[in-house]
Protein backbone atom coordinates (compact mmCIF):
# COMPACT_ATOMS: atom_id res chain seq x y z
CA UNK A 1 0.00 0.00 0.00
CA UNK A 2 1.35 3.40 -0.84
CA UNK A 3 2.38 5.34 2.21
CA UNK A 4 0.67 8.62 2.79
CA UNK A 5 3.04 11.32 1.60
CA UNK A 6 4.53 13.27 4.44
CA UNK A 7 7.83 14.19 5.96
CA UNK A 8 9.85 11.57 7.83
CA UNK A 9 9.25 11.39 11.52
CA UNK A 10 11.04 13.61 13.91
CA UNK A 11 10.96 16.87 12.05
CA UNK A 12 10.26 18.70 8.87
CA UNK A 13 10.28 22.13 7.43
CA UNK A 14 7.15 24.14 7.57
CA UNK A 15 4.81 25.01 10.36
CA UNK A 16 4.33 22.64 13.29
CA UNK A 17 1.43 20.22 12.96
CA UNK A 18 -0.10 21.47 16.19
CA UNK A 19 0.73 24.62 18.06
CA UNK A 20 -0.77 25.74 21.33
CA UNK A 21 0.02 29.17 22.70
CA UNK A 22 -1.01 30.10 26.22
CA UNK A 23 -4.03 27.79 26.11
CA UNK A 24 -6.24 27.71 29.19
CA UNK A 25 -9.53 25.96 29.85
CA UNK A 26 -11.46 26.57 33.02
CA UNK A 27 -14.65 24.82 34.07
CA UNK A 28 -16.19 27.09 36.65
CA UNK A 29 -13.70 27.02 39.49
CA UNK A 30 -11.49 24.30 38.04
CA UNK A 31 -8.55 25.18 35.82
CA UNK A 32 -8.18 22.08 33.70
CA UNK A 33 -5.51 23.72 31.57
CA UNK A 34 -3.43 26.68 32.65
CA UNK A 35 -1.44 28.58 30.09
CA UNK A 36 -0.15 25.60 28.10
CA UNK A 37 2.17 26.21 25.17
CA UNK A 38 3.31 23.32 23.00
CA UNK A 39 4.64 22.67 19.55
CA UNK A 40 4.15 19.29 17.94
CA UNK A 41 6.25 18.80 14.84
CA UNK A 42 4.92 17.47 11.62
CA UNK A 43 5.28 13.70 11.33
CA UNK A 44 6.33 12.99 14.89
CA UNK A 45 4.87 10.63 17.45
CA UNK A 46 4.11 12.90 20.38
CA UNK A 47 2.72 11.79 23.72
CA UNK A 48 0.86 13.77 26.34
CA UNK A 49 1.74 12.06 29.61
CA UNK A 50 0.40 12.74 33.05
CA UNK A 51 -1.73 11.47 35.94
CA UNK A 52 -5.55 11.61 35.86
CA UNK A 53 -6.87 15.11 35.97
CA UNK A 54 -3.63 16.66 34.76
CA UNK A 55 -5.26 18.19 31.71
CA UNK A 56 -3.86 15.98 28.97
CA UNK A 57 -7.23 14.74 27.74
CA UNK A 58 -8.64 18.28 27.88
CA UNK A 59 -5.74 19.35 25.72
CA UNK A 60 -6.49 16.61 23.19
CA UNK A 61 -10.15 17.51 23.02
CA UNK A 62 -9.27 21.14 22.33
CA UNK A 63 -7.11 20.09 19.42
CA UNK A 64 -9.88 17.86 18.11
CA UNK A 65 -12.41 20.65 18.38
CA UNK A 66 -14.84 19.12 20.88
CA UNK A 67 -14.18 21.97 23.23
CA UNK A 68 -13.05 25.55 23.02
CA UNK A 69 -10.25 27.14 25.04
CA UNK A 70 -11.14 29.92 27.44
CA UNK A 71 -7.87 31.63 26.55
CA UNK A 72 -5.00 31.17 24.13
CA UNK A 73 -4.78 30.03 20.54
CA UNK A 74 -4.53 26.72 18.75
CA UNK A 75 -3.02 26.40 15.29
CA UNK A 76 -3.14 23.41 12.99
CA UNK A 77 -0.37 23.51 10.40
CA UNK A 78 -0.02 27.23 10.85
CA UNK A 79 -3.72 28.02 10.47
CA UNK A 80 -5.77 29.15 13.44
CA UNK A 81 -8.37 26.61 14.48
CA UNK A 82 -10.51 29.09 16.39
CA UNK A 83 -14.18 28.57 15.65
CA UNK A 84 -13.54 25.49 13.51
CA UNK A 85 -15.92 22.68 14.38
CA UNK A 86 -14.49 19.14 14.53
CA UNK A 87 -15.93 18.18 11.17
CA UNK A 88 -14.00 20.93 9.45
CA UNK A 89 -10.63 20.08 10.94
CA UNK A 90 -8.12 17.85 9.19
CA UNK A 91 -7.76 15.91 12.41
CA UNK A 92 -9.19 12.52 13.35
CA UNK A 93 -9.55 10.91 16.76
CA UNK A 94 -9.35 7.39 18.12
CA UNK A 95 -11.55 7.44 21.21
CA UNK A 96 -10.87 5.71 24.48
CA UNK A 97 -14.06 3.67 24.22
CA UNK A 98 -13.51 3.34 20.45
CA UNK A 99 -16.96 4.87 19.80
CA UNK A 100 -17.77 2.44 17.01
CA UNK A 101 -21.30 2.84 15.72
CA UNK A 102 -23.12 -0.28 16.91
CA UNK A 103 -25.80 -0.22 14.24
CA UNK A 104 -23.29 -0.26 11.37
CA UNK A 105 -21.01 -3.00 10.17
CA UNK A 106 -17.24 -2.67 10.44
CA UNK A 107 -16.99 -1.66 6.80
CA UNK A 108 -19.72 0.96 7.20
CA UNK A 109 -17.99 2.29 10.28
CA UNK A 110 -14.70 2.65 8.50
CA UNK A 111 -16.37 4.18 5.46
CA UNK A 112 -18.30 6.71 7.52
CA UNK A 113 -15.96 9.66 7.04
CA UNK A 114 -15.69 8.94 3.33
CA UNK A 115 -19.42 8.61 2.95
CA UNK A 116 -20.03 11.93 4.65
CA UNK A 117 -17.64 13.54 2.22
CA UNK A 118 -19.44 11.91 -0.67
CA UNK A 119 -16.55 9.81 -1.90
CA UNK A 120 -17.88 7.58 -4.71
CA UNK A 121 -18.80 4.04 -3.74
CA UNK A 122 -16.05 2.17 -5.57
CA UNK A 123 -13.30 4.34 -4.18
CA UNK A 124 -14.87 4.05 -0.75
CA UNK A 125 -14.79 0.28 -0.88
CA UNK A 126 -11.20 0.26 -2.05
CA UNK A 127 -9.99 2.62 0.65
CA UNK A 128 -11.87 0.71 3.36
CA UNK A 129 -10.15 -2.47 2.25
CA UNK A 130 -6.77 -0.76 2.33
CA UNK A 131 -7.39 0.68 5.76
CA UNK A 132 -8.41 -2.67 7.20
CA UNK A 133 -5.33 -4.27 5.66
CA UNK A 134 -3.21 -1.54 7.18
CA UNK A 135 -4.41 -2.40 10.68
CA UNK A 136 -4.13 -6.08 9.90
CA UNK A 137 -7.83 -6.86 10.03
CA UNK A 138 -8.69 -8.04 6.54
CA UNK A 139 -12.06 -9.62 5.98
CA UNK A 140 -14.03 -8.43 9.01
CA UNK A 141 -15.90 -5.85 7.00
CA UNK A 142 -19.28 -7.47 7.29
CA UNK A 143 -19.23 -8.08 11.01
CA UNK A 144 -20.77 -5.88 13.68
CA UNK A 145 -18.57 -4.23 16.32
CA UNK A 146 -20.31 -6.21 19.03
CA UNK A 147 -18.96 -9.42 17.51
CA UNK A 148 -15.34 -8.30 17.77
CA UNK A 149 -12.83 -8.53 20.59
CA UNK A 150 -11.48 -5.41 22.31
CA UNK A 151 -8.25 -5.51 20.40
CA UNK A 152 -10.06 -5.87 17.10
CA UNK A 153 -12.40 -3.00 17.89
CA UNK A 154 -9.45 -0.80 18.61
CA UNK A 155 -7.97 -1.55 15.22
CA UNK A 156 -11.27 -0.78 13.53
CA UNK A 157 -11.31 2.57 15.33
CA UNK A 158 -7.81 3.19 14.01
CA UNK A 159 -8.79 2.22 10.50
CA UNK A 160 -11.85 4.43 10.63
CA UNK A 161 -9.70 7.41 11.54
CA UNK A 162 -6.81 6.70 9.18
CA UNK A 163 -8.90 6.04 6.09
CA UNK A 164 -9.60 9.77 5.89
CA UNK A 165 -5.88 10.58 5.54
CA UNK A 166 -5.93 13.16 8.29
CA UNK A 167 -2.85 15.28 8.82
CA UNK A 168 -2.96 14.68 12.55
CA UNK A 169 -4.22 11.59 14.36
CA UNK A 170 -5.28 11.93 18.00
CA UNK A 171 -5.35 8.88 20.25
CA UNK A 172 -7.05 9.07 23.64
CA UNK A 173 -5.55 6.36 25.86
CA UNK A 174 -6.09 3.83 23.08
CA UNK A 175 -4.45 0.90 24.84
CA UNK A 176 -6.02 1.37 28.25
CA UNK A 177 -8.61 -1.37 27.92
CA UNK A 178 -6.25 -4.05 26.65
CA UNK A 179 -4.45 -6.63 28.74
CA UNK A 180 -0.70 -6.44 29.25
CA UNK A 181 0.52 -8.71 26.48
CA UNK A 182 -1.82 -7.21 23.92
CA UNK A 183 -0.91 -3.74 25.06
CA UNK A 184 2.78 -4.37 24.52
CA UNK A 185 2.13 -5.81 21.07
CA UNK A 186 -0.01 -2.84 20.11
CA UNK A 187 2.61 -0.39 21.30
CA UNK A 188 5.04 -1.82 18.78
CA UNK A 189 2.40 -1.95 16.07
CA UNK A 190 1.20 1.59 16.58
CA UNK A 191 4.74 2.89 16.40
CA UNK A 192 5.41 0.94 13.22
CA UNK A 193 2.11 2.13 11.77
CA UNK A 194 2.97 5.72 12.42
CA UNK A 195 6.33 5.33 10.72
CA UNK A 196 4.74 3.75 7.71
CA UNK A 197 1.92 6.22 7.36
CA UNK A 198 4.08 9.19 8.23
CA UNK A 199 1.44 11.45 9.80
CA UNK A 200 1.60 13.18 13.15
CA UNK A 201 0.31 11.09 16.03
CA UNK A 202 -0.68 12.80 19.27
CA UNK A 203 -1.17 10.23 21.95
CA UNK A 204 -2.58 10.66 25.47
CA UNK A 205 -1.59 8.23 28.20
CA UNK A 206 -1.00 7.96 31.91
CA UNK A 207 1.34 5.02 31.43
CA UNK A 208 4.88 6.38 31.44
CA UNK A 209 6.34 3.17 30.14
CA UNK A 210 4.07 3.37 27.11
CA UNK A 211 5.03 6.98 26.50
CA UNK A 212 8.71 6.16 26.72
CA UNK A 213 8.36 3.20 24.38
CA UNK A 214 6.40 4.88 21.61
CA UNK A 215 7.14 8.59 21.48
CA UNK A 216 9.59 10.66 19.57
CA UNK A 217 8.92 13.39 22.10
CA UNK A 218 6.61 13.74 25.03
CA UNK A 219 5.12 16.37 27.32
CA UNK A 220 4.63 15.71 31.01
CA UNK A 221 1.45 17.28 32.38
CA UNK A 222 0.70 18.17 35.96
CA UNK A 223 -2.31 20.07 37.28
CA UNK A 224 -3.04 21.68 33.94
CA UNK A 225 0.51 22.73 33.19
CA UNK A 226 3.35 21.23 31.17
CA UNK A 227 6.30 20.39 33.39
CA UNK A 228 8.68 19.23 30.69
CA UNK A 229 8.84 18.57 26.99
CA UNK A 230 11.53 16.43 25.43
CA UNK A 231 12.55 13.10 24.01
CA UNK A 232 12.07 10.04 26.23
CA UNK A 233 15.78 9.96 26.99
CA UNK A 234 15.87 13.61 27.98
CA UNK A 235 12.84 13.34 30.21
CA UNK A 236 14.08 10.19 31.86
CA UNK A 237 17.72 11.09 32.34
CA UNK A 238 17.34 14.83 32.89
CA UNK A 239 14.05 15.33 34.70
CA UNK A 240 13.27 19.01 35.07
CA UNK A 241 11.58 18.63 38.42
CA UNK A 242 10.98 16.19 41.23
CA UNK A 243 7.51 15.52 39.88
CA UNK A 244 8.84 14.46 36.49
CA UNK A 245 11.54 12.38 38.10
CA UNK A 246 8.99 10.57 40.17
CA UNK A 247 6.26 10.22 37.59
CA UNK A 248 8.44 9.01 34.74
CA UNK A 249 9.99 5.94 36.29
CA UNK A 250 10.61 5.84 39.98
CA UNK A 251 13.27 7.79 41.71
CA UNK A 252 14.99 8.28 44.99
CA UNK A 253 15.18 11.70 46.55
CA UNK A 254 17.84 12.84 48.93
CA UNK A 255 18.11 16.15 50.69
CA UNK A 256 19.55 17.82 53.77
CA UNK A 257 21.45 15.72 56.31
CA UNK A 258 21.06 12.42 54.49
CA UNK A 259 22.27 13.94 51.24
CA UNK A 260 25.22 15.50 52.99
CA UNK A 261 26.17 12.20 54.64
CA UNK A 262 25.96 10.23 51.42
CA UNK A 263 27.11 12.69 48.77
CA UNK A 264 29.04 15.29 50.67
CA UNK A 265 26.62 18.09 49.96
CA UNK A 266 23.20 18.91 51.39
CA UNK A 267 21.79 19.99 47.99
CA UNK A 268 18.73 17.92 46.99
CA UNK A 269 19.38 15.27 44.34
CA UNK A 270 17.48 12.47 42.65
CA UNK A 271 18.91 9.05 41.76
CA UNK A 272 17.29 6.27 39.72
CA UNK A 273 17.02 2.96 41.60
CA UNK A 274 18.69 1.01 38.81
CA UNK A 275 21.77 3.17 39.12
CA UNK A 276 22.31 2.04 42.72
CA UNK A 277 24.36 -1.03 43.57
CA UNK A 278 24.36 -3.25 46.62
CA UNK A 279 27.87 -4.03 47.79
CA UNK A 280 29.28 -6.06 50.72
CA UNK A 281 28.81 -4.33 54.05
CA UNK A 282 32.44 -3.74 54.75
CA UNK A 283 33.50 -2.79 51.24
CA UNK A 284 34.80 0.64 50.40
CA UNK A 285 33.15 3.03 47.98
CA UNK A 286 34.46 2.77 44.41
CA UNK A 287 36.18 5.82 42.95
CA UNK A 288 33.98 8.85 42.29
CA UNK A 289 30.92 7.27 43.84
CA UNK A 290 28.51 8.35 46.52
CA UNK A 291 26.86 6.11 49.05
CA UNK A 292 26.94 4.63 52.52
CA UNK A 293 26.00 1.71 54.76
CA UNK A 294 22.46 0.53 55.44
CA UNK A 295 20.22 -2.46 56.21
CA UNK A 296 17.95 -4.19 53.69
CA UNK A 297 14.44 -3.81 55.09
CA UNK A 298 12.36 -5.29 52.25
CA UNK A 299 12.85 -7.46 49.19
CA UNK A 300 10.38 -7.83 46.31
CA UNK A 301 11.31 -10.50 43.80
CA UNK A 302 9.93 -9.70 40.34
CA UNK A 303 11.43 -12.41 38.23
CA UNK A 304 13.51 -10.25 35.86
CA UNK A 305 14.69 -8.01 38.64
CA UNK A 306 14.54 -7.58 42.38
CA UNK A 307 13.53 -4.45 44.23
CA UNK A 308 15.28 -3.81 47.52
CA UNK A 309 14.45 -1.23 50.11
CA UNK A 310 17.41 -0.21 52.19
CA UNK A 311 17.20 1.80 55.41
CA UNK A 312 20.35 3.90 55.29
CA UNK A 313 22.28 4.61 58.46
CA UNK A 314 22.35 8.22 57.31
CA UNK A 315 18.61 8.42 57.81
CA UNK A 316 16.92 8.01 54.39
CA UNK A 317 15.36 4.96 52.72
CA UNK A 318 16.55 4.11 49.25
CA UNK A 319 14.95 1.91 46.61
CA UNK A 320 17.46 -0.23 44.74
CA UNK A 321 16.66 -2.26 41.65
CA UNK A 322 19.02 -4.97 40.46
CA UNK A 323 18.64 -7.30 37.54
CA UNK A 324 18.67 -10.95 38.57
CA UNK A 325 21.36 -11.86 36.10
CA UNK A 326 23.33 -14.04 38.52
CA UNK A 327 20.98 -14.05 41.49
CA UNK A 328 18.46 -16.75 42.26
CA UNK A 329 15.22 -16.01 44.02
CA UNK A 330 16.43 -17.69 47.18
CA UNK A 331 19.55 -15.56 47.25
CA UNK A 332 17.53 -12.41 46.61
CA UNK A 333 14.97 -13.09 49.30
CA UNK A 334 17.61 -14.03 51.84
CA UNK A 335 18.97 -10.51 51.59
CA UNK A 336 16.31 -9.29 53.97
CA UNK A 337 17.90 -7.92 57.09
CA UNK A 338 21.41 -8.01 55.66
CA UNK A 339 23.87 -5.16 56.16
CA UNK A 340 24.97 -3.67 52.84
CA UNK A 341 26.80 -0.77 51.28
CA UNK A 342 24.78 1.19 48.72
CA UNK A 343 26.81 2.99 46.08
CA UNK A 344 26.26 4.92 42.86
CA UNK A 345 28.44 6.82 40.42
CA UNK A 346 28.37 10.48 41.44
CA UNK A 347 27.38 11.59 37.96
CA UNK A 348 24.04 9.74 38.20
CA UNK A 349 22.83 11.91 41.05
CA UNK A 350 20.90 14.69 39.36
CA UNK A 351 20.37 17.97 41.15
CA UNK A 352 16.83 19.16 41.76
CA UNK A 353 15.30 22.58 41.77
CA UNK A 354 12.65 21.70 44.33
CA UNK A 355 11.75 18.96 46.80
CA UNK A 356 9.25 16.20 45.98
Amino acid sequence: MTPIPGPASGGGNGPPAVRLVGVSRTFGEVRALDGVSLEIRDGEFFSLLGPSGSGKTTCLRLVAGFDRPTAGTIELHGVSAAGLPPYDRDVNTVFQDYALFPHMSVAENVAYGLRVRKVPRDERARRVREALDLVRLPGVGDRRPAALSGGQRQRVALARALVNHPRVLLLDEPLGALDLKLRQEMQVELKALQRRVGITFVHVTHDQEEALAMSDRLAVFRDGRVEQVGSPAEVYEEPASAFVADFVGTSNFLAGEAAAALTGSPAPITVRPEKLRLLEAGASLPGDSCGGPGTVSDVVYLGVLTRYRVEMDAGAALAVVEQNRDTTSAEALSARGRRVLVAWPRVHGRPLREGP
Partner: protein
Protein backbone atom coordinates in the same frame (compact mmCIF):
# COMPACT_ATOMS: atom_id res chain seq x y z
CA UNK B 1 -29.28 -6.11 39.98
CA UNK B 2 -27.06 -7.91 37.50
CA UNK B 3 -24.70 -9.48 40.00
CA UNK B 4 -27.56 -11.19 41.71
CA UNK B 5 -28.58 -12.86 38.49
CA UNK B 6 -25.14 -14.17 37.69
CA UNK B 7 -24.15 -15.34 41.12
CA UNK B 8 -24.92 -19.03 41.47
CA UNK B 9 -26.65 -18.81 44.81
CA UNK B 10 -29.68 -20.74 45.91
CA UNK B 11 -32.77 -18.61 45.72
CA UNK B 12 -34.74 -19.09 48.94
CA UNK B 13 -38.25 -20.49 48.69
CA UNK B 14 -40.94 -18.02 49.50
CA UNK B 15 -43.27 -18.81 52.36
CA UNK B 16 -46.51 -20.39 51.21
CA UNK B 17 -48.61 -17.57 52.61
CA UNK B 18 -46.69 -15.10 50.48
CA UNK B 19 -47.14 -17.15 47.33
CA UNK B 20 -50.86 -17.41 47.99
CA UNK B 21 -51.08 -13.67 48.53
CA UNK B 22 -49.26 -13.05 45.26
CA UNK B 23 -51.60 -15.39 43.45
CA UNK B 24 -54.63 -13.69 44.94
CA UNK B 25 -53.44 -10.23 43.91
CA UNK B 26 -52.72 -11.44 40.39
CA UNK B 27 -56.19 -12.92 40.14
CA UNK B 28 -57.63 -9.67 41.46
CA UNK B 29 -55.79 -7.80 38.70
CA UNK B 30 -56.68 -10.05 35.78
CA UNK B 31 -59.90 -11.91 36.50
CA UNK B 32 -62.16 -8.97 35.61
CA UNK B 33 -61.01 -9.05 32.00
CA UNK B 34 -61.85 -12.73 31.81
CA UNK B 35 -65.31 -12.02 33.16
CA UNK B 36 -66.00 -9.35 30.57
CA UNK B 37 -64.72 -11.61 27.85
CA UNK B 38 -67.30 -14.12 28.97
CA UNK B 39 -70.01 -11.50 28.97
CA UNK B 40 -69.33 -10.76 25.32
CA UNK B 41 -71.04 -13.99 24.54
CA UNK B 42 -74.07 -13.76 26.82
CA UNK B 43 -77.53 -13.73 25.29
CA UNK B 44 -78.87 -11.42 27.95
CA UNK B 45 -79.25 -7.80 26.84
CA UNK B 46 -78.35 -6.14 30.12
CA UNK B 47 -75.48 -8.61 30.48
CA UNK B 48 -74.52 -8.85 34.03
CA UNK B 49 -76.39 -11.89 35.18
CA UNK B 50 -74.16 -14.69 36.29
CA UNK B 51 -74.15 -17.40 35.18
CA UNK B 52 -75.09 -16.12 31.71
CA UNK B 53 -78.37 -17.57 30.45
CA UNK B 54 -76.90 -18.54 27.09
CA UNK B 55 -73.97 -18.01 24.76
CA UNK B 56 -73.94 -16.43 21.33
CA UNK B 57 -71.66 -14.72 18.84
CA UNK B 58 -74.30 -12.26 17.71
CA UNK B 59 -73.04 -9.31 19.65
CA UNK B 60 -69.84 -9.09 17.64
CA UNK B 61 -71.87 -8.58 14.51
CA UNK B 62 -74.07 -6.02 16.21
CA UNK B 63 -71.04 -4.09 17.42
CA UNK B 64 -69.61 -4.18 13.93
CA UNK B 65 -72.75 -2.57 12.59
CA UNK B 66 -72.94 0.29 15.04
CA UNK B 67 -72.22 3.61 13.36
CA UNK B 68 -71.49 5.48 16.55
CA UNK B 69 -68.84 2.97 17.55
CA UNK B 70 -67.02 3.41 14.27
CA UNK B 71 -67.22 7.18 14.49
CA UNK B 72 -65.85 7.19 18.02
CA UNK B 73 -63.11 4.77 17.04
CA UNK B 74 -62.13 6.90 14.08
CA UNK B 75 -61.89 10.03 16.15
CA UNK B 76 -59.83 8.30 18.82
CA UNK B 77 -57.41 7.02 16.22
CA UNK B 78 -57.02 10.39 14.53
CA UNK B 79 -56.52 12.23 17.79
CA UNK B 80 -54.04 9.66 19.08
CA UNK B 81 -52.04 9.79 15.86
CA UNK B 82 -51.85 13.58 15.86
CA UNK B 83 -51.00 13.80 19.54
CA UNK B 84 -48.32 11.14 19.17
CA UNK B 85 -46.60 12.88 16.29
CA UNK B 86 -46.61 16.22 18.08
CA UNK B 87 -45.42 14.61 21.30
CA UNK B 88 -42.57 12.86 19.48
CA UNK B 89 -41.26 16.11 18.07
CA UNK B 90 -41.69 18.22 21.21
CA UNK B 91 -40.53 15.52 23.59
CA UNK B 92 -37.38 14.79 21.60
CA UNK B 93 -36.49 18.48 21.38
CA UNK B 94 -36.93 18.91 25.11
CA UNK B 95 -34.95 15.78 25.95
CA UNK B 96 -32.13 16.83 23.64
CA UNK B 97 -31.97 20.26 25.24
CA UNK B 98 -32.03 18.95 28.80
CA UNK B 99 -29.44 16.30 28.00
CA UNK B 100 -26.99 18.48 26.15
CA UNK B 101 -26.39 21.33 28.48
CA UNK B 102 -26.94 22.76 31.86
CA UNK B 103 -28.88 25.93 31.55
CA UNK B 104 -30.69 28.30 33.77
CA UNK B 105 -34.11 26.91 34.46
CA UNK B 106 -33.21 23.31 33.66
CA UNK B 107 -34.62 22.05 36.93
CA UNK B 108 -37.74 24.08 36.36
CA UNK B 109 -38.17 22.60 32.90
CA UNK B 110 -37.83 19.07 34.24
CA UNK B 111 -40.50 19.82 36.80
CA UNK B 112 -42.68 21.39 34.12
CA UNK B 113 -42.36 18.21 32.11
CA UNK B 114 -43.63 16.11 35.00
CA UNK B 115 -46.63 18.29 35.85
CA UNK B 116 -49.10 17.09 33.22
CA UNK B 117 -48.81 13.60 34.61
CA UNK B 118 -48.27 14.50 38.25
CA UNK B 119 -51.28 16.77 38.54
CA UNK B 120 -54.66 15.07 38.70
CA UNK B 121 -56.24 14.85 35.27
CA UNK B 122 -59.12 16.91 36.39
CA UNK B 123 -56.86 19.85 37.13
CA UNK B 124 -55.25 19.68 33.71
CA UNK B 125 -58.64 19.21 32.14
CA UNK B 126 -60.39 22.10 33.69
CA UNK B 127 -57.36 24.34 33.33
CA UNK B 128 -57.28 23.73 29.61
CA UNK B 129 -61.00 24.16 29.36
CA UNK B 130 -61.03 27.51 31.08
CA UNK B 131 -58.08 28.66 28.98
CA UNK B 132 -59.89 27.63 25.82
CA UNK B 133 -62.98 29.39 27.12
CA UNK B 134 -61.09 32.58 27.85
CA UNK B 135 -59.55 32.55 24.40
CA UNK B 136 -62.96 31.70 23.00
CA UNK B 137 -61.67 28.73 21.05
CA UNK B 138 -64.49 26.39 20.11
CA UNK B 139 -64.20 22.74 21.04
CA UNK B 140 -63.11 20.49 18.23
CA UNK B 141 -60.84 17.52 17.58
CA UNK B 142 -58.02 20.06 17.62
CA UNK B 143 -58.67 21.02 21.22
CA UNK B 144 -58.70 17.35 22.16
CA UNK B 145 -55.33 16.95 20.46
CA UNK B 146 -53.95 19.91 22.38
CA UNK B 147 -55.00 18.33 25.65
CA UNK B 148 -53.58 14.94 24.78
CA UNK B 149 -50.28 16.25 23.45
CA UNK B 150 -49.63 17.97 26.73
CA UNK B 151 -49.30 14.75 28.64
CA UNK B 152 -48.04 12.61 25.77
CA UNK B 153 -44.98 14.85 25.61
CA UNK B 154 -44.04 13.68 29.09
CA UNK B 155 -43.95 10.03 28.12
CA UNK B 156 -41.86 10.62 25.01
CA UNK B 157 -39.54 12.98 26.89
CA UNK B 158 -38.82 10.40 29.58
CA UNK B 159 -38.14 7.62 27.12
CA UNK B 160 -35.88 9.70 24.90
CA UNK B 161 -33.99 11.21 27.82
CA UNK B 162 -33.35 7.78 29.34
CA UNK B 163 -32.00 6.57 26.01
CA UNK B 164 -29.87 9.67 25.49
CA UNK B 165 -28.32 9.15 28.88
CA UNK B 166 -27.45 5.63 27.89
CA UNK B 167 -25.74 6.77 24.70
CA UNK B 168 -22.04 7.49 25.01
CA UNK B 169 -21.14 11.07 24.20
CA UNK B 170 -18.25 9.77 22.17
CA UNK B 171 -20.67 8.52 19.51
CA UNK B 172 -21.67 12.04 18.53
CA UNK B 173 -18.11 13.29 18.85
CA UNK B 174 -16.80 10.47 16.68
CA UNK B 175 -19.31 11.31 14.00
CA UNK B 176 -18.37 14.99 14.04
CA UNK B 177 -14.70 14.08 14.14
CA UNK B 178 -15.15 12.07 10.96
CA UNK B 179 -16.63 15.00 9.13
CA UNK B 180 -20.38 14.90 9.72
CA UNK B 181 -22.02 18.15 10.76
CA UNK B 182 -25.16 18.41 12.88
CA UNK B 183 -27.88 17.16 10.51
CA UNK B 184 -25.85 14.23 9.21
CA UNK B 185 -24.78 13.24 12.70
CA UNK B 186 -28.38 13.26 13.79
CA UNK B 187 -29.50 11.23 10.82
CA UNK B 188 -26.74 8.62 10.75
CA UNK B 189 -25.78 8.23 14.39
CA UNK B 190 -28.23 9.74 16.86
CA UNK B 191 -31.47 8.66 15.28
CA UNK B 192 -30.52 4.97 15.07
CA UNK B 193 -29.65 5.08 18.75
CA UNK B 194 -32.96 6.70 19.54
CA UNK B 195 -35.05 4.62 17.20
CA UNK B 196 -36.46 2.07 19.61
CA UNK B 197 -36.91 4.66 22.37
CA UNK B 198 -38.91 6.83 19.99
CA UNK B 199 -40.94 3.85 18.94
CA UNK B 200 -41.62 2.84 22.53
CA UNK B 201 -42.41 6.40 23.59
CA UNK B 202 -44.65 6.85 20.60
CA UNK B 203 -46.57 3.67 21.29
CA UNK B 204 -47.02 4.52 24.94
CA UNK B 205 -48.18 8.00 23.98
CA UNK B 206 -50.61 6.47 21.50
CA UNK B 207 -52.00 4.10 24.11
CA UNK B 208 -52.29 6.92 26.65
CA UNK B 209 -54.15 9.12 24.22
CA UNK B 210 -56.37 6.36 22.94
CA UNK B 211 -57.45 5.53 26.46
CA UNK B 212 -57.78 9.00 27.93
CA UNK B 213 -61.10 10.08 29.39
CA UNK B 214 -60.70 12.76 32.01
CA UNK B 215 -58.91 15.54 30.16
CA UNK B 216 -60.86 14.62 27.04
CA UNK B 217 -64.15 15.23 28.80
CA UNK B 218 -63.12 18.80 29.33
CA UNK B 219 -61.60 19.54 25.97
CA UNK B 220 -64.25 18.09 23.73
CA UNK B 221 -67.63 19.48 22.87
CA UNK B 222 -69.97 17.13 21.09
CA UNK B 223 -67.15 14.96 19.82
CA UNK B 224 -67.02 11.41 21.09
CA UNK B 225 -63.78 9.57 21.38
CA UNK B 226 -64.03 5.88 22.15
CA UNK B 227 -63.53 6.30 25.92
CA UNK B 228 -66.18 8.99 25.98
CA UNK B 229 -68.49 6.69 24.09
CA UNK B 230 -67.89 3.98 26.72
CA UNK B 231 -68.40 6.48 29.51
CA UNK B 232 -71.72 7.51 28.05
CA UNK B 233 -72.68 3.86 27.83
CA UNK B 234 -71.88 3.23 31.47
CA UNK B 235 -75.21 4.49 32.63
CA UNK B 236 -77.19 2.98 29.76
CA UNK B 237 -78.12 -0.65 30.11
CA UNK B 238 -79.17 -0.87 26.48
CA UNK B 239 -77.20 -3.34 24.41
CA UNK B 240 -74.57 -3.83 27.07
CA UNK B 241 -72.79 -6.67 25.28
CA UNK B 242 -71.92 -4.24 22.51
CA UNK B 243 -70.11 -2.18 25.12
CA UNK B 244 -68.45 -5.38 26.32
CA UNK B 245 -67.22 -6.17 22.83
CA UNK B 246 -65.89 -2.64 22.42
CA UNK B 247 -64.28 -2.88 25.85
CA UNK B 248 -62.52 -6.12 24.99
CA UNK B 249 -61.37 -4.64 21.73
CA UNK B 250 -59.99 -1.55 23.47
CA UNK B 251 -58.08 -3.67 25.98
CA UNK B 252 -56.46 -5.69 23.23
CA UNK B 253 -55.77 -2.63 21.11
CA UNK B 254 -53.97 -0.79 23.88
CA UNK B 255 -52.25 -3.79 25.44
CA UNK B 256 -50.41 -4.85 22.32
CA UNK B 257 -48.50 -1.61 21.69
CA UNK B 258 -47.64 -1.44 25.36
CA UNK B 259 -46.35 -5.00 25.27
CA UNK B 260 -44.16 -4.14 22.30
CA UNK B 261 -42.94 -0.93 23.92
CA UNK B 262 -41.99 -2.93 26.99
CA UNK B 263 -39.88 -5.34 24.97
CA UNK B 264 -38.17 -2.53 23.11
CA UNK B 265 -37.05 -0.68 26.21
CA UNK B 266 -36.18 -3.70 28.29
CA UNK B 267 -32.47 -2.93 28.10
CA UNK B 268 -33.02 0.60 29.32
CA UNK B 269 -34.57 -0.71 32.50
CA UNK B 270 -31.25 -2.30 33.29
CA UNK B 271 -31.99 -5.99 32.99
Amino acid sequence: MPSEATRPRDRPRAPLALELAVGAVLVFLHAPFAVILLYCFTTEDASFRFPPPGLTLDWFAVAWGREDVWAALGLSLRVAAAATVLALVLGTLAAAAVHRSRFFGREALSLLLVLPIALPGIVSGIALRSALGLLEVPFSPLTIVIGHTTFCVVVVYNNVLARLRRTARSQVEASMDLGAAGPETFRFVVLPHLATALLAGGMLAFALSFDEIIVTTFTSGQQETLPIWIFNQLTRPRQRPVTNVVAVFVVLATSLPVLLAHRLTREDAGR
